[in-house]
């Protein structure tokens, strides 16, 4: 078919361009703008070049927060992915109980972040919280406001409670797509339960699991509300994750230059890691269709 060439067609893209410009590009550019300037108040800005970025690279505070952030994301992925898969494997395949399980599993996903934070903040209190009180009366000296390890355990368990369902639901969807003949063939071939998981279920779940890992990584890397509500970043700076630190810097201290450079770095790290995930996933797909 002959293609019609009409340069005016570019105008059709304009609405999207405008929308994206206002929602993403312009805000990002203001951040870029702040990151290369210094301000002494009264809206007076001076060119500062790459000073903020240099500062950032030498900032112990940033590296510590990044370390904590990576540890947090790593920990919740290491728990939620195997746990989610385990839950999915043990969910009923069909019938009434399958529906009941699905609804129950979805419930935590529907609760707003700050509500989750509040629930756990109260839940873990030693005076009125069920969890804190129980631990305390069992003789465990539990106190998430004073003890860094306890604070960490609390926010990790909270995230596991909130988001394991997502991994489980995605893994469940992957499992449901496996034709029954595969399980029958495995029984004929006398495959062990482990072999069925390793050679049938895991390969078939790989695609959805990659999506689950990507989603959980991005979300956990950007997490702010829940740990902020529970620990406020404390005790000390023990649970100050990247976003909490960023907000402190930008709004608490009003160091716009530092914070802007921080934001750009933050954005680039997420972009880079997501790109790696994406590339791996696309290659997995390619290998499947080859």
């Amino acid at each position: 078919m002959e293609k019609t060439v009409n340069q005016k067609a570019w105008f059709l893209v304009l609405p999207v361009l405008v929308l994206v410009a206002f929602s993403a590009i312009i805000p990002l550019m203001t951040v870029v703008n702040y990151s290369v300037q210094d301000s002494f108040g009264q809206n007076q800005f001076f060119w500062a070049g790459l000073v903020w970025f240099e500062d950032l690279l030498h900032s112990e505070r940033m590296w510590d927060a990044l370390g904590r952030q990576l540890f947090f994301s790593g920990a919740i992925l290491a728990i939620e992915v195997p746990l989610g898969v385990f839950v999915a494997l043990n969910m009923p395949k069909k019938g009434l109980w399958a529906s009941v399980c699905l609804v129950l599993m979805s419930l935590p996903l529907l609760i707003p972040w700050n509500v989750v934070g509040t629930i756990w903040q109260v839940f873990a209190r030693t005076d009125i919280g069920l969890l804190g009180y129980t631990l305390d009366s069992l003789g465990i000296n539990y106190n998430y406001t004073q003890n860094a390890a306890h604070a960490w355990i609390t926010i990790i368990v909270m995230d596991v409670w909130h988001w394991t369902s997502l991994v489980a639901l995605l893994a469940y969807a992957g499992l449901q797509s496996i034709p029954n003949a595969y399980y029958q063939a495995a029984r004929i071939d006398q495959a062990s339960r482990w072999a069925v998981f390793r050679y049938i279920e895991l390969p078939k779940m790989m695609g959805v699991l990659m999506i689950a890992i990507l989603l959980r990584f991005m979300d956990s890397f950007m997490i702010y509300t829940e740990p902020f509500v529970v620990t406020g970043g404390g005790p000390g700076n023990a649970t100050t994750l990247l976003s909490i630190d960023l907000v402190k810097m930008a709004l608490g201290q009003f160091d716009l230059g530092n914070a802007a450079a921080f934001s750009i770095m933050y954005f680039l790290v997420i972009l880079a890691i997501s790109w790696v995930f994406y590339t791996v996933m696309v290659n997995l797909d390619k290998r499947d269709t080859k």
Partner: protein
């Protein structure tokens, strides 16, 4: 290798089957002889796969027993029964290579690696996949994947039986013929008891020593291809086997005479008075178009299929097919049909009635 006995076996997918219609597989008693090749033939949904899955232990029957060499295995798991089964759609382990796929059933039972490697090469040669042994199975075509499934089914030498559930559906016609030949050879060489489910009569008749025909959850006839052709026990067998199928017409039978709409047909056997719906069945091969004898017919069309002609006609409002030789002349005044009396079967309520010598 074993003799497989089905004793009083039946299966329903419903928890509390009430009537006969609730059973996917109706009561069945049968011995599958050790080392014989059987084809299980029937239209879709007639219970073939159900029966196969019960034999392999993937399904627990609602009633009855299964015995291997007179040992009750009804409650044994699939693994203990030592059965190989190949399914309609290819099942391969995606992340494994072709070699690992073929070796998988052997490795699961433990065994000497050298012996496994030798056996895998043997099977690979049989299915023509020696040159892709090291490739990952996931990238292969459906054809190739199904060959791997077949190979995995055949790789164990000591299985009690080899079950095939329409395994050649996804294979292209040329390869189909070749694989079927391979299966027959395998059967000849090793003498496994084989059960081959199919809805393709050519496949069934060329593969098997004995063909088991199923209809609506019931085994309606077990016999050699010749028996199924000459003396179908049930009108369904008549329709289903043969091309075109048997002509079946309502009739009245008195002694050794049958009457179709008042026209007399001589039978070679005599019959007691029959109850229910009485029909006669005649294969198109044993019907002849004539000028003077037999019942009046209206010829609709003549199809020349190469080695013979098929005459499609109407007789008292019933469709009737007649096969004539390639060189037989068919003229406009041939408007009657006569049957070869030795090959007229009598049916009451769809089941063949055995006559007595007249």
């Amino acid at each position: 290798m074993a003799k497989i006995t089905l004793d009083n076996l039946a299966h329903s997918y419903l928890p509390n089957p009430a009537s006969d219609d609730d059973y996917a597989l109706k009561e069945l008693n049968h011995d599958w002889q050790d080392g014989a090749a059987y084809a299980l033939l029937g239209s879709s949904g007639c219970g073939k796969s159900t029966l196969l899955n019960i034999i392999s232990g993937l399904l627990q029957p609602s009633q009855g027993r299964i015995l291997f060499d007179d040992v009750d295995v009804t409650h044994q798991a699939t693994a203990e029964r030592n059965i190989a089964q190949v399914f309609q759609f290819p099942v391969v382990y995606d992340t494994m290579t072709v070699r690992e796929n073929l070796a998988f059933p052997l490795r699961n039972r433990g065994g000497d690696e050298a012996a496994i490697a030798a056996r895998v090469n043997e099977i690979a040669q049989m299915i023509g996949m020696e040159d892709v042994l090291s490739k990952k199975a996931r990238g292969l075509t459906a054809d190739a994947k199904q060959k791997i499934s077949l190979g995995r089914g055949m790789v164990r030498k000591d299985v009690n039986a080899l079950l095939f559930d329409e395994p050649l559906t996804v294979i292209d016609p040329h390869m189909k013929w070749e694989l079927r030949t391979q299966l027959k050879k395998l059967h000849h060489d090793f003498g496994h008891t084989m059960i081959y489910v199919t809805h393709d009569q050519t496949e069934a008749l060329t593969f098997a020593d004995k063909v088991v025909v199923m209809y609506e959850g019931r085994v309606v006839q077990i016999g050699t291809p010749e028996e199924l052709f000459e003396r179908p026990d049930h009108t369904f067998v008549g329709y289903f086997i043969g091309s075109p199928g048997m002509n079946v017409m309502p009739a009245r039978v008195e002694g050794s005479r049958a009457y179709v709409e008042g026209t007399e047909i001589v039978l070679t056997q005599g019959y007691q008075p029959l109850e229910g719906r009485v029909e006669i069945g005649v294969r198109p091969e044993y019907a002849r178009l004539t000028q003077s004898e037999g019942m009046p017919v209206k010829v609709r069309r003549v199809e020349d299929v190469g080695r013979h002609k098929i005459i499609r006609a109407e007789c008292f409002g019933h469709d009737i097919n007649i096969i004539a030789g390639e060189d037989d002349r068919i003229s406009a005044d041939m408007n009657r049909v006569s049957f070869d009396p030795a090959h007229v079967n009598v049916y009451a309520n769809d089941w063949r009635v055995q006559g007595e010598a007249a």
